[in-house]
């Protein structure tokens, strides 16, 4: 019987680097935002149901656990937004020099952290 071909991804023998970590982060944040999209729809449905249901939803979202989840969702949102723009630049066959790829990667890390902190600083002000 032929040995089955190896299947991608082979994470166990892959040394992490900025490029691969950000690539995986894009997928991970995308999955988190998928849950966030259903959360947004549920939150709107609670709002449509009336003040009582919306108050219950807000109480859940503004609890310590809720705020922690919301913080991670906003971090995922701003990261996926910034790295998505990086992908759109690549789609135009720009920025493929190794130096540009690392520069863009660190810029995305910085921008997504700054946007997340700015959102919460503004929101809590």
């Amino acid at each position: 019987m032929p040995r089955p071909r190896p299947k991608s991804p082979n994470m166990q023998n892959y040394r992490p680097q900025l490029t691969s970590v950000l690539s995986f982060g894009h997928r991970l944040s995308g999955v988190a935002l998928s849950l966030g999209a259903f959360g947004l729809a549920g939150w709107l449905a609670a709002g449509a149901s009336g003040p009582e249901a919306f108050g219950a939803a807000q109480a859940l979202l503004l609890s310590t656990f809720g705020r922690a989840v919301l913080f991670l969702i906003t971090l995922a949102l701003f990261y996926h937004l910034c790295n998505g723009i990086r992908h759109l630049v690549w789609d135009n066959v720009r920025g493929f020099e190794l130096r540009e790829i690392y520069l863009g990667g660190w810029a995305v890390v910085g921008a997504s952290l700054i946007l997340t902190l700015a959102f919460w600083a503004w929101g809590l002000a």
Partner: protein
Amino acid sequence: MTTRTISSFARARGLGAAGHGTSHWWALRVSAVALVPLVLWLAVALAGGAAADHARLTSWLAAPLNSVLMILLLAAGFHHTALGLQVIAEDYIHSGARFAAAGVIQLACIAGAAAGIVAVLRIASGA
């Protein structure tokens, strides 16, 4: 040396093995571009307290521009979600279950978008 995997006719039509060419990839990009201003609009509105309580949420979403933008956000967002999750399922699920997964993903995203859009319409109509 080049290896030809598809016929010249198929290459010229540009539709590839799945028969729908780059349409999935392109729809992912179009929805991504639409989502850039839409998510920034939502982030600015929420940080500014547009939904701080039920009265503010309803008056904010009842404004026609805001209800239209929220419906567009839900449509583009759930479309992008369905396309993106399907790619992940196709990459990591190696059995035939990936077809079932793709179906579940698409149905769930259509349901999520419908629930969200109906909620916006109910708020906008004051129901």
